[in-house]
Each structure stands twice: as C-alpha cells, then as structure tokens.
Amino acid sequence: MKTFTILIVDDSAAMRSLLVSTLETLGTIATVQAPNGFEALRMLPREQVDLVLTDINMPDINGLELLSFIRSNPMYKDVPVVVISTEGSRKDIEKGLSLGANEYLVKPFQPEQLLEIVKRFL
C-alpha cells in the first residue's frame, strides 16, 4: 500500500518542522516540504501528493495562488488542501474556502486540531 504523502508549504523552516513532528505522531504518513509556492509547484508533478497543507503569506507565489492552481489543474484538482494561516478574519477564511480549500486552520492552533483535520483525509 502506498504511503499517504502530505506536502507542507510554508516559508518558515521552524513552522515546517513543527508541522512534520506533529504529523509524525500519526505514524503511517510521509511528508515532503516546500519553502515557497515555487517549490510546491515543482513538487506536485514529482511526488504523489495526497494532501497539501499550505501557508498563505509567502513571497512570489502565495498560498491562495497555489490553491487556485491546484483546483484548476485536472491532474491535482481532487487533492485536498488545508490552508494554515495567521490570517484569521472571516473575509480571509471565506476567500480560502471559496477558492476550494477543504479546511482553513488559523495559527496558532493546538496540535490536536491539526491531527483531527488531517485524519479526515487519510
């Protein structure tokens, strides 16, 4: 059976490793990391990604742009995307969801919140 692969997109290395160490408690998953939207775009065709966790505020290609790309590309449009952002206003959340995000998680969050969401996609 293929391992469940999660792509983590965040420009903060500390944030990425925090996410990885939280997700590792789930056991059977693999994680790949991208420090920005660019790298994420490169990884999508290379890795068989089952779930994307992305930050919004990143240079050049932001999380919303990445999300919009994933949803418009027939090859990835069914990959679930969870937006993890410090932007927590209603407007921001609505924007993320209207672009096709499956979940919107506002930073800071408790590890259990993240795990609960991710488990739904396993």
Binding site: S12, S17, N57, F69, M75, D92, K95
Partner: protein
C-alpha cells in the same frame, strides 16, 4: 492570544534561530526603507517584505507559545499593514516606531534565551499603545478605482489577497497600464524562466500577482499569469519581453480623470496583439453620458486614444516587407541600367523619359525603404536595461562594486540586430566584470576608487552604429595571454608577437584567460563565439587594452541588416560584395610598392604597414580569365587591425539584401552570406572581420 502547549527544546531552538534571522533581516530592510523614504519614494515590494517578516514572526511565535513576542510582532505587523495598504503614511514618527519594534523584538528574543521574558511586559505594553495611537487612518484622497472595469478574469481576481488588490488599485490610481502577462514554461525549468520574466517586469514596474495556471500542455508545462502595473505602453513592454515566449494582455490603462472613460473603452479586455487593420478608436462606446465624461482637454483625449494607436506586428511581416522593398530596389537598378544603355545606344527621347521615370521611382523607393526601416528601428536602450540587471546580479554575486554608466540609449538599431547582439554584449560585459574589474580591496590597493566603472555607450557613426564597453579594471595582461595560448597549443611561437596579434589570440576558439573557471564567464562560450555572433550580423569587434587601466571593446554594427550598402568588387573572375561598414578606403595598387615581410605581402600606407590579402589564395580558387592590368586595394577593418584586400576591379556601391547561406556553409570563414545583384546574379558577401581574423592567424595570405 492563546498559546499552544510548551514546545520541546529542539523546537524552541528552531524557533529562536529562525526568529533571530527574521528580526535581523527586519533591521536591514527597515534601514533600506528609511533610505528610500528619505529620497521620497519607497518600493512597495520592500514594505511588503518587511510586513511578511513581522507576519511570519507573529505566526511562529504564536505556534511555539511565545505569546509576548507574538503580541509585539502582531502590533508591528498591524502598523506595517496599515502602511502597505496606504491607510497611514510613512512619517519619521512611524519609521521610528518600526525601528523600535525591531529593537524590542530583539530584546524579547534574547530574553527568551535567558528566561527573563516576564521582565519586559511593561515595555511591550507601552510599545503596543504607542502603535495603537498611531493608527489613525488618513482620509482617502479620491474614490478608489473600480477594479471591475479592468475586466480581469474571476480566477485572477479571486486569488488576489487584500494587499494585492490594494496594489492593483494603487497602480490604477497612478495611471499605470495594467497588463496580464501570460507565459508558459517547461515544468522542469519554469523557475528560471519565471525568475527572468519577473526580473524584467520588476525592472519596469510592479508585479502585483503571479498566478500559476493550467495551459494546454498540462503534462509538461506550467503556465503563469502575471498581473503587472507599469508606465510602459504595450509596444515597449512587448519589446522588453520579445525574447520570451509570452503574450501580453492590456487590462486597462487609466490616466487621471479619464480613467472611467478609458476603462470602459477597454472593458471587454482585448488582447493587445492587434494585427495591422482597422483602428479601434472609431467604435468608442456611447453609453457614457456627457456629465460623466471629464472635460475633455486635448491632452486627456489623447491619453485615452493613444492606447489603440500602437500596433504590434510580427517581425516576420516586416522582414517580408523589407524583402519586397529590397527586391524593388534591385528591380529599380535594372530599369536604370536599361535606361542608361538605351541612352548610349541612341534611343534618346525614350531613354531620357525612362531615365526620368526611374529617378522618380528611386525617390519614392528611398522614402519607402526609409519608412519600412524606421518601423524596425528600436532604441539600444532596451538592451541597456537587460545589461544593467546583469551587472547588478554579477556584482552582487562577486562582491565587486560596480557602477554602470550608460550613454546613447536613444541610438536606434534594427530590432533583429538588437536581438542578436544581446548575447555577445552580455558576454563582453560579464568578462569585463569577471576578468576586468578587480575586487574592491585590490582596487584600493592600486589607488583606484573601490567602485569599478563599466561604461556602455552607443552612437551612430556614418552608416553604422558603434557600441562600446569600457571598463576601468585591470586590463588584459598580454604576456599572460601569450603564455596561455602557447600552453594550449593555439600558437607555436610567441617571439616577436605584436600586442595586436596577442590581443587577437583571445578570439581564438578554445581560449580562456580565467585561471579558474568561474560561474560567470566560464559558461563554455568563448570570445570566438562572441566574434562569430557579431559577424553574423555583419558586425566587427575590436579590443583596446591598457594594463592596469582597463579595456575597451568596440562593436561596429550596420544600422540594419535588411538592406546594407556594399562595395561590389571583382577578383579572380568572381564578383563579391563587401559591406561598406567594414571598408575604410580603397586605392590603386602599385605593384612596385609591394614588399614582402616573412613571406607575406605588405604595402606601406601612410607610414603604416598594411598586410595584403589575395582572395583567390584565401578561398583557394583558381584564377579565371586573364590576369588583370591595374589592381586595387580595398582597406577593411578598424583601428590598427587593418587589411588590404587585393581586387581586380571596383564595380561601385550598391544596396544589397544579405541572405544567409544554408547550414552546410555555416562553418565557412570569411563569408557572411549571399546577395542578389538584381541582374540574375548571386554573389557572395565577404565577412571582413572573419577574414582579418583568419589572416592574423596566419592561415590566410
């Protein structure tokens, strides 16, 4: 702000390392911002980067459970957000607050390590109130522009963050043109392509958003829509991007009060790539009531109209047109010569009338030729922008301080030549920085300004354009060059080699002066390729150098390739053309003047030795026909690098259209193409630069 469970010490270390980096960066960026603010204008991109720093720090600190740092970062972020959204202006007081935020954050981070965070609560609260007191929105000066009128696609608008939307409005308000630049890149290398595109666009405006999108080739390619605000018109923008495979759509070009009219004019968001047909100003919308329209001063009316006054045309169409003009010119010369023959053969009345008609045709043709040529002309300045980006990039990479001085940006050159000269020019400039300009320390040590200078100048000189690249670096060490050539087996003997000959070694295939191949110049492209590329557009390149003082590369180019003036010569039974750009003078050869130096023929021309070249020997062809009586010498070349080509007859000057030879003849040295003489004869066009190179190498004459 809530905090998560206490982080492990490993995670805390990760956090501190990154947080420190962010705060340090904040300090530098704020200093840059202050510098810019002093000069009156700051980059939105820089402010946004600072905002992003504060934003990341807030998110990070929150996640890792450092509430007070998250709070402080949050207030700074807030202040920065108001700034970048234009709700407050960047006053010295605001700047001061930002600096003190960075200082406070540094203090707090240090306190994290010491475990004394609690002691700073009061300072943090005071700082928060100081920021809160600052957040009084300025009254918006004018109503925000209506973005709907730009007619941008939903997918593009939908993915804009609030900030990007704000930047879009700002760009509209400033009267900038808004474009959507669409590009398609291969998946494996898209980051390079996108970076290059983004660099160019940032150089002439603002990239508001980069939206990846799905194109036709989803398996192998990725497409991008870049939303750009710039003052450049479509023509200028497309010229800047011509070497990239992109399409440009004009979303709207608002200017001051005419915005509404201008935008609704374009509401249907038409592609700019209009082919030459009907002007579209005729069908202006009538829906706007007179009261809505601003008082139409002539200037404003012009601004709305000018958008549709430019026509983008495929260069291929211009080529075709130029070819036809070229053929017409040739047809005209046959008519003229018929008229001349008729006159000498006694058909006087008709001959004179035909001659007159031919003259009239000639005048019109000259106008037509000039008109078509003008369309192809673009200012060299477009190359300059590319070059200055490269200079900035390389000097940053190499830690050298370089000032690029640009002169003659308005000099015009055929678009195709500008295109073809970009790479060689870039290479010469790279060389100048890489091998020429010394490190700041070395420059100081030799009493020079630590900042090196590269001068890029262009000017028209007669029928050609000269581009010079001059640096005040170390110059070229000719001894080193000779040794290198010797050790590489490029030459057998360097004794008695003149400086000029030594300099020419640089252009030999397989030569590179760099002791270590650096990333910059060591790209496998040698100066021989540079010279060949320049010769391919009938140009020549020459170097002058002074050890310790710098070098100068001079590139001489025809103004256009489409039609060039050439000297038609006859030699050993064959006819050739020499582009007039390479001809210095021609003179009658007195056989008695010919001397022999080391087995090579030379003559003395105004106290200088001029080597002679016999084409039949260079091309190893048999002489056809009888030996000529009087012979001529056509002096070609530039500066000290001259050569006399011995010819049997000078047949006069003529406009010719150079057609490239097929790929099979590409390796042929000394020939740059073929041309049609208009009397059914096709002749070869000599490449003077190549012939000189060949001769200097000793395989020729």
């Amino acid at each position: 702000m809530s905090s998560s469970s206490p982080p492990s010490s490993d995670a805390a270390r990760d956090f501190l390392a990154e947080a420190e980096e962010i705060v340090e960066e904040l300090g530098t960026q704020l200093a840059d911002l202050a510098d810019m603010a002093e000069k009156g204008a700051w980059e939105p991109d820089l402010l946004n980067a600072i905002f992003r720093g504060a934003h990341s720090l807030k998110g990070l600190a929150g996640m890792f459970g450092f509430g007070m740092i998250a709070e402080t970062a949050h207030h700074a972020e807030n202040l920065l957000d108001w700034l970048r959204m234009g709700k407050i202006s960047l006053t010295p007081a605001v700047l001061e607050l930002l600096f003190s935020s960075a200082t406070l954050l540094t203090t707090l981070l240090r306190a994290c390590v010491d475990g004394t965070l609690d002691q700073h609560q009061a300072a943090a609260s005071a700082h928060a109130s100081a920021i809160a007191a600052c957040l009084n929105p300025v009254e918006p000066v004018s109503a925000p522009p209506l973005l709907e009128q730009l007619g941008l696609s939903d997918s593009l608008m939908g993915a804009l963050t609030e900030y990007e939307e704000h930047r879009l409005k700002e760009n509209c308000s400033k009267g900038r043109h808004i474009y959507v630049v669409h590009a398609s890149f291969e998946l494996t290398t898209f980051d390079q392509g996108l970076a290059e595109l983004t660099d160019i666009l940032k150089g002439c405006g603002e990239v508001i958003s980069t939206l990846p999108s799905v194109g036709e080739r989803i398996e192998t390619h990725i497409d991008f829509d870049l939303l750009v605000g710039t003052d450049r018109n479509e023509q200028e923008l497309s010229a800047l991007l011509k070497h990239l495979d992109v399409s440009i759509l004009l979303a709207g070009a608002a200017k001051g009060d005419t915005k509404a009219a201008a935008l609704s004019d374009r509401a249907d968001f038409q592609p700019v790539a209009v082919t030459a047909s009907t002007p579209e100003t005729a069908d202006a919308p009538v829906a706007l009531s007179a009261s809505e329209l601003p008082s139409a001063s002539p200037e404003e009316a012009f601004s709305a109209k000018s958008m549709s006054r430019t026509v983008r045309v495929d260069i291929g169409k211009l080529d075709e047109l130029m070819n036809i003009v070229g053929e017409l010119v040739l047809a005209h010369s046959s008519i003229s010569s018929i008229a001349n023959r008729m006159r000498t053969e006694g058909f006087s009345r008709m001959a004179i009338d035909l001659g007159k008609a031919a003259k009239g045709l000639e005048r019109r043709l000259t106008d037509l030729q000039k008109g078509v040529m003008d369309i192809r002309m673009i200012p060299v300045g477009q190359l300059y922008e590319k070059m200055s980006r490269i200079v900035r990039k390389i000097s940053r990479e190499q830690g050298k301080k370089i000032e690029l001085k640009l002169y003659g940006a308005e000099t015009e050159l055929d678009k195709l030549i500008v295109e073809d000269i970009a790479d060689p020019l870039m290479h010469i400039i790279r060389n100048a920085i890489d091998h020429g300009i010394e490190s700041p320390e070395r420059r100081m040590a030799s009493g020079k300004d630590e900042r090196g200078t590269v001068r890029l100048s262009s000017f028209q000189k007669g029928n050609h354009v000269v581009i010079e690249v001059e640096d005040d670096g170390a110059g070229i060490d000719l001894e080193k060059v000779k040794q290198k050539a010797l050790s590489k087996g490029l030459v057998q003997d360097i004794n008695g080699m003149s400086d000029r000959e030594a300099l020419d070694l640089i252009f030999m295939p397989g030569f590179s002066t760099a002791d270590t191949i650096t990333d910059i110049s060591g790209r496998g492209v040698g100066m021989d390729v540079v010279r060949n590329n320049i010769a391919a557009v009938s140009g020549m390149v020459d170097i002058e150098t002074r050890l310790g003082q710098g070098s100068r590369f001079t590139i001489i180019l025809p103004i256009t390739l489409a039609i060039i003036k050439a000297l038609i010569i006859f030699c050993a039974g064959r006819t050739y053309a020499i582009p007039i750009t390479s001809v210095v003078e021609s003179l009658i050869l007195e056989p008695a003047d010919i001397k022999t130096v080391e087995g090579k023929e030379v003559i003395n021309l105004r106290e200088q030795t001029l080597p002679l070249l016999r084409l039949e020997r260079l091309f190893r062809v048999e002489r056809v026909g009888i030996n000529p009586g009087e012979q001529y010498v056509v002096v070609v070349g530039s500066a000290e690098k001259r050569l006399g080509i011995v010819v049997d007859d000078l047949l006069g000057q003529q406009d010719i259209v150079i057609k490239p030879l097929g790929p099979a003849f590409r390796a042929l040295r000394g020939i740059s193409g073929a041309a049609d003489l208009g009397d059914q004869r096709t002749i070869l066009v000599l490449d003077a630069g190549g012939i000189i190179a060949e001769t200097m190498r000793g395989s020729g004459a």
